[in-house]
């Protein structure tokens, strides 16, 4: 059970949160100009890497805010959290 730092509420136990997949995958600004392959890549393809990974979490049973977490997928270390609009380098 992770202890996740919500940037708004502080550290809380994992059951208060909902997972949202890889971070920084924006909904395309103009989907209609994308080819089927480009669109499918947005829909279905995500990184599955070992090491530091930026992912989205929602403090569903708390402030209900979405934010991002840097997690090491090899060690489960939670390196830091940052708000929507901030960059991974802002994680703390």
């Amino acid at each position: 059970m992770f202890e996740i730092r919500c940037p708004y509420c502080g550290p809380r136990d994992e059951p208060e949160f909902k997972y949202g997949g890889q971070a920084h995958v924006a909904y395309p600004a103009d989907p209609e100009v994308l080819s089927d392959e480009e669109w499918a890549r947005f829909l279905f393809v995500r990184d599955n890497s070992r090491g530091r990974y930026a992912e989205r979490w929602n403090h569903a049973a708390g402030c209900r805010r979405w934010f991002n977490v840097i997690r090491d997928t090899g060690t489960h270390e939670l390196v830091g959290s940052y708000r929507v609009g901030e960059q991974p380098a802002d994680a703390r």
């Binding site: 059970m1 992770f2 202890e3 136990d13 909902k18 949202g20 924006a26 909904y27 395309p28 989907p31 209609e32 994308l34 089927d36 669109w39 499918a40 947005f42 829909l43 989205r56 929602n58 569903a60 209900r64 805010r65 979405w66 060690t75 489960h76 270390e77 939670l78 929507v84 609009g85």
Partner: protein, 943 residues
């Protein structure tokens, strides 16, 4: 074994009776089930799982491969309880079921509970290392929780005669305990097992609160309590466990682990008559020395090593104990019950075995450090050739392994290491500094010689030389696995079941791994052992569930009208967490009869339904219309205040996610309704886009599901009922049109009335604040009496909407169905919305996609089961291509026949064709029809 009155930590002055396998036995306060059985001469505690061989207690701790019992009877019985952990009391009952237990006959919610705790330093294990760590960390000011699985602190010191500072070690333990208990920031939990280590210091503990007490002394307290601790620093001081040696008939009752024999003396005052020690290490000499000191005849120490040296060997020699080096026990003899009477000793250079009479053989093959809590979070391990055991490899943030768990043997060494680790852990939490902390304790440990890397005795008979006594796996079984071509320890484990027992193969896994490595001529350091996964010790489901059983398992949501439904005999259906009336049977009606009656009432007169559970999301802000346009397939921003529109939303992949009616209350104010089960997900979905994709939009979302109660009045006579209820509201068609909202006083209650229909009939949905729900319902019921108003439930609602071809999210859709598949082309507005691009992916344009159609069984009385597959031909051979499936199937009172909805490949182009549903007992011919089967012209909507 026999009891010495002046030894052990039990209360010799008091005794009580308990029952084992129906026999009445006597024990003293402080006895475990294992010690009590040994004291009563119960050498055979049960038989083994495969070979039905007699088995006895092997050691004094939870690694014992078969000291497992069924404890308690009936509703409170628990299987596979560890005899060395279970404390007996007056009236205690147990049964010798070593491998297959019985489950309790009833669920109870009062015996187990849970709690949460936070601390700076959690120390697991209260032996010399753990106590030292806890003491320095607490003295530095850290909040400390110290846990130990035994009833008393001291760890291995409880089972020894060791000295600390020239005093009996237990005096030091008592002193440390007193200092810890005096510190208000220290919590000491005895009888508590740390069984799981999660991420970021989430450690699960199981405390045996009153399990060791008779019912009369439990005073309503829980039997066990699970603790979920979040700690900054975890100190793993869980000690080490002894492993056996492998030789023929090493499973006889009387063959025990050496430290266990010593433990039974020091903890319970139990000794055999005649002892032989068989060892590959120095530590077992302590057993010989201690038991000789207690007056036991120590016949011989058999040591596999050549000419062992060291202070313990010297001491044994001084006591006159015969030491046979370079020798092994190659077999054992027993009496008619199979209990040990003699061992056969042979030189490892060969020769004729010599029989030595004894009733106890104390065996030691060396020690395995125990550090499961480090392994649970992917900590590594490596084989230490010098120790002949696995030790932790590498370090993990916030986890420190100390003492013999880290391969540091010897009391002084453990105290020193624990001291240092405790200081470091406290400093890491901001308490004290290692730079000028207290000085580590002095002291020297006995000079011990190296442990021999020795598993099985050469030349021993292999059929009954057990590697895993719990699983009845002998050398011959391992031979068979290796001979069959298996060459990985994980495969050996699964083929033979070595190490898979409920005691988790603590005494078997390392030996099995070494045998595997040797067979292939490999280095054991490379081969390794099979993984140690959580839990570190099995826990019963009951104690993990705590009180979260029955109604406390998951919240139950009910509407304010619920008491009326209960009083009127509704049968309920679970929809998400909601209890919804499924149908309202009258008299002896079954479900089918009740549903036919309810549906007929709605189509011919008037019905009423509690629609309060529908999800309701308040959407406010100047961009609310724009926001909804981006999520729904249709346009919501063009709605006029006071009007409503049906909407569907898709996931990004274009699949239907949810649907509902959106009401516009004002220019900047909407209320979106969702399906009952989808409400939370839709709100999350909306929040996600609002916060992460379109934070620039001025929109505020609020769940108001539980703020409103909704009563639907439905049927041709609905207008007449409304006229009675709301005399000031003009309900004529011209004044109050379909999809229109009106604020009105209904039955004296300020209400929001909407003409929304989910049945195709004239319908009014009356929304009032939730607390007025029951009053409104009762008023509607009373006003409707002259018109025969009929309450109906979700089943009738499903039938009525299916007759009209209205799909239900989750029934007609399953995450693979697009709006186009449902024939909702008319709802796809010419604008961008989430998922729109997916609707023209090549896969979406296939003309053989499954599409929603109606189906009519050719036999109008035949009702298909929902989920039935559909095929093209009445004559078929398996395998037969499936072209679709039935999603809804009912009997219609309005049409006087059965009907259904189905998803069929290319179905819309096949209307009029006959296809088939192959069932187990018959094949049903069905005609494909338009999904709108009843009232195709929509004439009924306006009454």
């Amino acid at each position: 074994m026999k009891r010495l009155d002046d030894r052990g930590r039990i209360d010799h002055d008091h005794s009580f009776e308990f029952t084992y396998d129906g026999r009445t036995l006597t024990a003293h306060p402080g006895d475990t089930l294992a010690s009590a059985l040994l004291a009563n001469g119960v050498d055979v505690i049960g038989t083994s799982v495969l070979m039905s061989r007699p088995r006895g207690v092997v050691t004094d701790n939870v690694t014992d491969p078969h000291a497992l019992a069924q404890v308690g009877t009936g509703a409170v019985t628990e299987p596979l309880m560890r005899m060395n952990e279970v404390e007996v009391f007056a009236g205690f009952e147990a049964e010798g079921r070593l491998h297959q237990g019985l489950l309790p006959t009833e669920r109870e919610s009062t015996r187990f509970e849970k709690r949460f705790a936070h601390c700076d330093v959690l120390v697991v294990g209260a032996g010399p290392a753990g106590l030292s760590a806890a003491l320095v960390a607490a003295d530095a000011g850290a909040r400390v929780i110290l846990v130990d699985s035994q009833a008393h602190l001291g760890g291995a010191l409880l089972g020894s005669e060791k000295l600390i500072d020239n005093q009996p070690a237990m005096r030091w333990v008592v002193d440390v305990e007193a200092r810890l208990r005096a510190n208000p920031d220290v919590t000491i939990l005895t009888r508590t097992t740390a069984f799981n280590n999660g991420d970021q210091g989430a450690v699960a503990l199981m405390e045996r609160v009153t399990e060791h007490l008779p019912e009369s002394e439990r005073e309503g307290r829980a039997v066990r309590r699970m603790w979920q601790v979040r700690t900054h620093e975890l100190v793993v001081a869980t000690g080490a466990t002894e492993r056996p040696l492998v030789f023929a008939d090493n499973d006889r009752p009387g063959v025990m682990l050496a430290a266990g024999v010593r433990g039974f003396l020091h903890r319970f005052g139990l000794v055999p008559e005649k002892l032989v020690v068989f060892t590959a290490c120095d530590d077992a000499y302590r057993t010989a020395i201690d038991l000789a000191g207690a007056g036991v005849a120590v016949e011989m120490i058999v040591d596999v090593r050549k000419d062992p040296q060291g202070s313990l060997i010297k001491r044994a020699r001084e006591l006159g104990i015969e030491i046979r080096d370079n020798a092994a026990v190659i077999g054992t003899d027993g009496d008619a019950d199979g209990v040990l009477t003699a061992v056969r000793v042979t030189s490892l250079d060969g020769g004729v075995p010599e029989a030595i009479a004894c009733d106890c053989l104390a065996v030691s093959g060396g020690w395995d450090p125990l550090f499961d809590l480090h392994l649970h979070v992917s900590g590594g391990s490596r084989w230490n050739r010098k120790l002949v055991g696995f030790v932790p490899d590498g370090s993990l943030p916030g986890i420190r392994v100390t003492g013999s768990a880290a391969g540091i043997f010897g009391t002084a060494g453990c105290r020193r290491d624990g001291h240092v680790v405790g200081l470091v852990a406290a400093e890491a939490t901001g308490h004290g500094t290692t730079a000028d902390g207290p000085v580590a304790p002095e002291g020297h440990d006995a000079n011990e010689g190296p442990t021999a890397d020795f598993v099985d005795v050469p030349g021993t008979e292999r059929i009954h030389a057990f590697v895993d006594q719990h699983r009845d796996v002998a050398l011959a079984g391992v031979d068979r696995a290796l001979g069959s071509g298996i060459h990985h320890v994980e495969h050996v484990k699964r083929y033979t079941l070595v190490g898979t027992g409920t005691e988790q193969g603590r005494t078997a896994k390392v030996n099995a791994g070494r045998l595997t490595a040797r067979h292939f001529g490999l280095d054991f350091a490379e081969v390794g052992i099979s993984n140690a996964r959580p839990l570190a010790q099995p826990m019963t489901f009951g104690s993990l569930a705590g009180r979260s059983l029955g109604v406390r398992f998951d919240p139950v949501r009910t509407t304010s009208i619920h008491p009326w439904h209960v009083a009127h005999g509704a049968i309920f259906e679970d929809v998400g967490q909601w209890k919804r009336p499924w149908f309202f049977p009258q008299g002896s009606e079954d479900m089918d009869a009740a549903v036919l009656r309810e549906c007929a009432a709605v189509r011919e007169g008037v019905g009423m339904m509690d629609a309060s559970t529908l999800g309701k999301i308040d959407v406010k802000g100047k961009d609310a219309g724009e926001f909804l346009d981006r999520l729904y397939t249709g346009v919501m921003s063009s709605l006029k205040p006071g009007r409503a529109r049906y909407g569907v939303m898709c996931k990004a992949d274009g699949m239907v996610m949810d649907d509902g009616v959106v009401l516009r209350l004002a220019d900047d104010h909407f209320m979106a309704t969702t399906t009952t089960g989808g409400a939370a997900g839709v709100l999350d979905w909306m929040e996600d886009f609002l916060q992460t994709e379109w934070p620039d939009l001025d929109v505020w979302l609020t769940s108001v599901t539980e703020q409103w109660a909704t009563v639907a009045v439905v049927g041709p006579k609905a207008r007449e009922v409304m006229a009675v209820l709301a005399p000031e509201l003009d309900v004529t068609q011209d004044a109050f049109k379909f999809m229109q909202l009106e604020d009105a006083v209904v039955a004296g209650i300020e209400s929001r009335v909407a003409r929304i229909s989910f049945s195709g009939e004239l319908a009014f949905e009356i929304n009032v604040p939730m607390t007025y729900g029951l009053a409104l319902w009762e008023a509607v019921y009373a006003a409707g009496q002259p018109f025969g108003i009929t309450p109906y439930g979700t089943e009738s609602m499903h039938v009525l909407r299916a007759e009209k071809g209205y799909f239900i999210v989750g029934q007609e859709t399953d995450g693979t169905v697009t709006p186009l598949d449902l024939g909702l082309d008319w709802m796809i507005a010419d604008k961008e919305f989430v998922g729109r691009r997916s609707l023209r992916r090549s896969d979406m344009l296939r003309d053989d996609r499954k599409q929603l159609v109606g189906i009519l069984p050719v036999d109008p009385k035949d009702r298909l089961p929902e989920g039935a597959q559909l095929i093209d031909s009445a004559e078929y051979e398996i395998p037969v291509p499936m072209i679709g499936h039935v999603t809804s199937s009912y009997e219609s009172s309005a049409m006087g026949r059965t009907f259904g909805l189905a998803l069929v490949r290319g179905g819309r182009n096949r209307i009029g064709e006959t296809i088939y549903a192959p069932l187990a007992d018959r094949t049903v011919a069905v005609e494909i029809v338009d999904p709108v089967i009843f009232d195709q012209e929509g004439a009924r909507r306006d009454g």
